[in-house]
Amino acid sequence: MALHDWLLFLHVLSAFALVGAEVLFTFLIFWLWRTDLPADIARISGISKIGSVLVGIGAVGTLILGVILAFEADSYAIWDVWIIAAVILWFAFAELGRRVGQAYDAAGARARTLVSEGRTEPSPELGATFRSSNALTLHLTSLAIVVLFLLDMIFKPWA
């Protein structure tokens, strides 16, 4: 297998890790949407950590390997519009991901505190934190950026 094929495979694999993590986060948000129980929210902190690791690996892998591919392939240039668009989308995604992480980590930390204090009864305040419309909007926006990423990679506008 040629170097280009390896780079492309690892680039796509990184994209799968990134989107897989986004799918995982989305599933967890909707799965726990109606719960006010601290134990339910605290329980998933380990799984969300797996998602955080994957999204980190995926984001860094797609960017670095994507840039290397842009220089390595004769048919692409780093200043192609669709590649510049992808880099801008990457930075927007990174910032949104940071904010989404902060919002849901706060809910997770609060849930773990309640469980450690033995307060296992439903907590409407915790539920409200988890169902924050701001956090959900940020997450849905990050999902929209992922879809835009994919559209940009496949349609390659102005290539």
Binding site: W6, L8, F9, F16, V19, G20, V23, F27, D74, A159
Partner: protein, 160 residues
């Protein structure tokens, strides 16, 4: 380089089916990833409430995420194939790998969903912290995830 040239010379009417195909594959892998993570946590925990919750989560991830992802991936893939004009006689090996992993994987996916669902019911009825069915579903989902990552390699590098 072949893939790069293919990407550049690919007719634009393939773009939308390819988008659906890749999006479906990513959702499928994401659903499997979620299910495997949940099943791994269910495997490691001893508290029946934790085991039941993670097993239930794994089942719903397979049913509501991985299965629709497979359908979208398969529809998109068939749509592209119809546009590429492969007849079945001259199909390249990467297409064969794609079909094999998609169709054989679908049967395994259905069995995994069934076992995971029955396992969740078994856990609910018995109230215990273990279910043989859930435990069997875990390696199946893991194998599926690995198989679909091999398919990603075949679809990306397109070996002859």
């Amino acid at each position: 380089m072949g893939v790069t040239l293919l990407a550049l010379t690919r007719p634009t009417e393939w773009d939308f089916p390819l988008f659906l195909h890749v999006l479906g594959a990513m959702v499928l892998v994401g659903g499997l990833l979620t299910a495997v993570a949940m099943q791994a946590f269910a495997w490691r925990r001893h508290d029946p409430a934790d085991v039941a919750a993670f097993s239930r989560g794994a089942f719903w991830a397979l049913l509501t995420v991985a299965l629709p992802g497979w359908v979208l991936m398969r529809i998109g893939g068939e749509w592209i194939r119809s546009k590429e004009g492969y007849s079945g006689d001259n199909d390249p090996s990467w297409l064969g790998i794609g079909y094999l992993t998609a169709d054989a994987g679908f049967l395994v996916l259905l069995v995994t969903i069934l076992l995971a669902g029955l396992g969740v019911r078994q856990l609910r009825r018995s109230g215990s912290g273990t279910s043989v069915l859930v435990r069997v579903a875990t390696p199946l989902a893991t194998i599926l995830l690995i198989v679909y990552l091999v398919a990603v390699w075949a679809m990306t590098t397109k070996p002859d």
